[in-house]
Subunit: 313 residues, 2 copies
DNA sequence: CCGATTAATACTCATATTGAGTATTAATCT
DNA sequence: AGATTAATACTCAATATGAGTATTAATCGG
């Protein structure tokens, strides 16, 4: 049995109607993190308590993501292990973001940031992101060409798969695979923290340690999960319109959804019910308001709740 | 940052044509486990190397399962954290099971054991297990009746959901939920290790620490995964018949599969190809032999590969 | 050599799900 | 009044799924 330094890292996600955001520290360069204390009851319970106490947001859904071990540390220093969690929270009730680090009351200023700031290429639904993606793919291409020719085929195939090129279709769940290919190509500036900025709109904002990798894991997990578990509702306010629900799915998945089919599926899952009220915020025909039927989910422990994400054309 | 004792725990699964088996130590009472050493490169890589060096089996598929923290230890002692992995291996090339602990060359005798020895109620396809399941449900019922009446409704509902009673259908993926309900009811003798034996055919064999919980997590993960990733092939030998493949799925899932539909789906996934040979081991019409097309899987990183598991009637 | 056994294989059929589309209606905003 | 915003109502074809029946091809035990 060996002693290692163990820390918890949390990816706290909120959706404010506009874009999914994550709680960050250090001017957006790290995720909330803190030590695993020996007096904590269970990992899950203590993390939930810490988050709720410190940030004031109720954690709707909390799940373990992955346990990362860092690469070999300098000798003499203990090994570092990070146990990461994904937490979904509802917008509205949270404290101002400052000092919202769940692990450290006197921590550095915290802020909720658009997760696409870190992964601009993941926002496939956003046409204005397209040029940046083009630039990134160009650089990836350049890098491949600089490798030894016998690797070209394999690397190009991998590029096509993960970025949905040349006949392959875009798979929104491959967030981590895309990040790792770019990392291999030296296109995400984690290693050389010096040149942050510059073209962050192409390569995304960098983070300390392996926090951007953890964030990629979180996004991938959430995108996969909304297809078969009703977790998207954990990001919605008490009452919401179907259009708002659709936008949440679209912004999380980074792609468009077929409206009529989306409604059809949501309707026949029977997981939501009308409140009777209407919303006339958008300035069109008023939209009916719905609420999530929490009781039904209790009944069906594992209700398949796939969401109809539009295929690539 | 705090120092905790950190260990690795591996659930090594093999399918010998008869039943899924897991590698166990200490006369079946624990899973292979060992310290996280500071000289290991990455968790995944070092675990793979350790398993292959020690047991002689090639690990086909390795994935992290979950990181468990034990309950509060006696004061003064450091906290224990276990990072658990699921490893799928092919039968045939492994060394005799003795001393097959991947973490400890001089470890206790090891053995491959039927995983249903630990979870008899999970084998729904086996008619001779039915009486034991009946007995177990009877005891669960007795326990519920001994609780305070205002909990009856909730507990009975939970029982019906996880065991597929009273209109609910059996969900083979709820392995952990079933174990935890039985644990709560005091029906799995982890806590009182004294009375092992007795009715192990009803409550299953016990394990030390939380190893049976880890095993439950592994079974649940594998059952879920064979529905959408072609991991079942990691348990098959190089060549196999469609019937053998079906049996592997059935034994892992613990339930029957509709033969014609199974073949239809497997065929149109295009993940296997005929070898040209036939097997006449079973003594009937000879069955064609197939092999897994590894190259295709490389191409389709995420090929949906659902398997048609028969609905409960 | 015959019939039981074992399994592969070939079809059918109804129902459900999915992806994509058109058309219409109901409100607000300028 | 007409543009805008969104909800709603349908249609249609293509697949996927669950459950069957019927037939064929081999081995094995006597």
């Amino acid at each position: 049995m060996s002693l290692v330094q163990t820390e918890l890292v949390a990816v706290l996600v909120v959706f404010n109607g506009d874009t999914p955001r994550v709680l960050t520290l250090e001017d957006g360069r790290s995720l909330p993190n803190g030590p695993l204390r020996t007096d904590d009851r269970s990992l899950q319970a203590s993390l939930r308590a810490a988050v709720e106490r410190q940030t004031g947001v109720a954690v709707g859904h909390l799940e373990q993501l992955y346990t990362f071990a860092d690469h070999l540390p300098a000798d003499g220093e203990p090994r570092r292990v990070a146990i990461s969690y994904l937490a979904l929270t509802r917008v509205g009730a949270e404290r101002p973001a400052e000092h919202a680090n769940p692990f450290d009351e006197a921590g550095s200023p915290a802020a909720w940031r658009d997760w696409y700031d870190y992964f601009p290429w993941e926002d496939q639904a956003c046409p204005r992101a397209a040029p940046a993606v083009g630039a990134l793919l160009q650089r990836l291409d350049d890098w491949i060409t600089r490798q030894s020719p016998e690797r070209w085929e394999e690397l190009r195939q991998r590029r096509d798969q993960v970025f949905g090129l040349n006949g392959e279709s875009w798979n929104d769940e491959l967030v981590l695979q895309r990040y790792e290919l770019l990392y291999e190509a030296g296109l995400v500036p984690e290693a050389q923290m010096a040149d942050i900025g510059g073209d962050a709109c192409v390569t995304g904002l960098a983070m300390r340690h392996d926090h951007r990798r953890i964030l990629a894991t979180a996004i991938a997990r959430l995108r996969a999960k909304i297809r078969y578990r009703p977790v998207i509702y954990e990001l919605m306010p008490d009452q919401f319109t179907l259009f708002a629900l659709q936008q949440a799915v679209e912004r999380v998945a980074g792609r468009h959804v077929h409206k009529q089919n989306f409604r059809r599926q949501v309707a026949h899952q029977g997981l939501i019910e009308e409140t009777g009220d209407e919303s006339r915020e958008a300035g069109g025909r008023p939209a009916r308001l719905y609420r999530f039927r929490r009781s039904v989910v209790m009944e069906r422990v594992v209700a398949g709740s796939k969401l109809p994400i539009v295929r690539a054309r």
